[in-house]
Amino acid sequence: MFKRPGVLPGFWPAYSYSVLYLSLIVLIPLSAVFLKAATAGWPKIWQTISSPRVVAAYEVSFGASLAAAIASVVIGFVIAWALERYEFPGKSFVDALVDIPFALPTAVAGISLTSLYAPNGWLGRYLTPLGIKVAFTPLGITIALIFIGLPFVVRSVQPVMEDADHEVEEAASSLGASRWQVFRRVLFPAFRPALLTGFALAFARGLGEYGSVVFISGNLPMKTEIAPLLIIAKLEQYDYAGAAAIAVAMLVASFFLLFLINFIQGRSRRFMETKLS
């Protein structure tokens, strides 16, 4: 069953330890959610996840994550394009800044964004007279999720832009294509799988995001309450089965997205391989 080519020692101890630790920390605790939801039974699960407040929270989470992922794709594409295709002073510094949302703890991002977009905040004070309310609205949730999602898009697209084949681009222009045609017909199709991956990563992260959102969302039931917050609300009422039911629905959604990402990446890899051969 196990092939061990070569002379290297330590397969069994390393393998057994990895599997044991993985099971204890990740697999067994995670299975607790599914078992808890299952022991409550289907009627109870269905009753929980179809109650109006929970459905509203799913809609808020899903809608804001979707809007933020789309915005992240557009903004992230512009940033990645400038970083990969143009030269300007301070470029590598700007490139390093893109990782800030990965490194900054979510709660810190949450209070900072809230203070910026609150009606008396640095940005909020200019947006409020225009009739744009950001803090404590779904728009605020979306802004927080753009902050969280942007690096996923930039870091997905950058390597593809770096590898883009200049010869194809030159061939297209020398055959008479305009700059816009080259972009639309040659460059953009090559970036599309990476953009989709970035979109899916940002979207998946947005669905589960908690720390950066709870402060700016205002948490009004039926309006700006996100799904993770309802899990906490259920726990505070000692409704463990209800919390587990909401969690299962979220886990299924995010695993589906991760599966989709692998599928996109696998397909684009196969596409590149057939093109090369």
């Binding site: 605790p29 949302p101 709660a107 203070s115 463990y240």
Partner: protein, 280 residues
């Protein structure tokens, strides 16, 4: 002359568009990414150095810092040992289920922080699987330090392994095989060959794991119970201060975490450069 200049024009956008796009990219980076970080520091020092210092040295802040350091001190070594074992297994051997193992390691990245906390409440909480037994033996895990450690270990689980696996795969096993053939013991091989080769990647994994352990909010929030001076980590303390409208103090404590984030980014640059050097 005309041929080369025409070709250059065709390969890139007109100057106005190029400058416009660079400007737009800089503006968007500033607005969406830099401003939230800058706002933390500016608001932290709003009322001067003395107020900042008072906020970060006050008793509850001090115990939150100590607890976060304790949790990180337990979490990081645990995940380093796992990362080394998993990378050794996956990058050095072919076996059935190798890809499954690789996929399972990534699971915690796909799980919402709140769900990451919830799973430990369902196992160790009063109504959880082990709750009654733990209650009989007077062991508290949820709403206590062990629960915070478990949730943090779960959330930071993949970091070290994720750094080491691709690095060790790209380096190959020739040097290690040579060491064994020449009579080195397993420990000698690990210490003299493997460790020097992977040290920068390992260090980067440790940096990421440390930063996330110190800053984790959602998962820890679910299992901690928010008991002041006992189960509050730095991010939870920030939340409490903020919800009490004590904004300057909240941002002062948050600025500590932001410094950690900036240092993480700096180390990332340095270590990326070192790993690339080691790979060549």
């Amino acid at each position: 002359m005309s041929a080369t200049s025409r070709r250059r024009i065709l390969r890139t956008e007109p100057t106005w568009l190029r400058r416009g796009l660079i400007g737009l990219a800089l503006l968007l980076t500033f607005l969406f990414i830099v401003l939230p970080l800058a706002a933390v520091f500016i608001q932290a020092f709003d009322k001067g150095w003395a107020v900042w210092q008072a906020a970060v040295t006050e008793e509850n802040a001090r115990s939150a810092i100590l607890l976060s350091l304790l949790v990180t001190g337990i979490t990081v070594p645990l995940n380093v040992v796992f990362g080394l074992a998993a990378a050794w297994t996956i990058a050095r051997f072919q076996f059935k289920g190798r890809n499954v193992l690789l996929t399972l390691i990534d699971i915690p990245f796909g799980v919402s922080p709140v769900v990451s906390g919830l799973i430990f409440v369902l196992v160790f909480g009063a109504q959880g699987w082990l709750g009654p037994w733990l209650g009989d033996h007077d062991i508290q895990i949820i709403f206590a330090v062990p629960g915070i450690v478990l949730a943090t270990v779960f959330v930071t689980f993949p970091f070290v392994a994720r750094e080491l696996i691709p690095l060790m795969q790209s380096q190959g096993s020739d040097e290690e095989e040579a060491a064994i053939v020449l009579g080195a013991t397993a420990w000698q091989m690990f210490r003299r060959v493997t460790l020097p080769n992977i040290k920068w990647g390992l260090l980067y994994g440790v940096v990421l794991c440390t930063a996330r352990s110190l800053g984790e909010f959602g998962a820890v929030s679910v299992v901690s119970g928010h008991i002041r001076g006992l189960t509050n980590t730095i991010p939870l303390h920030v939340e409490i201060l903020y919800n009490e409208y004590n904004y300057t103090a909240a941002f002062a404590v948050a600025s500590l975490l932001s410094v950690v984030a900036v240092v993480t980014l700096l180390l990332k640059k340095v270590l990326e450069w070192k790993t690339r050097e080691a790979r060549v």
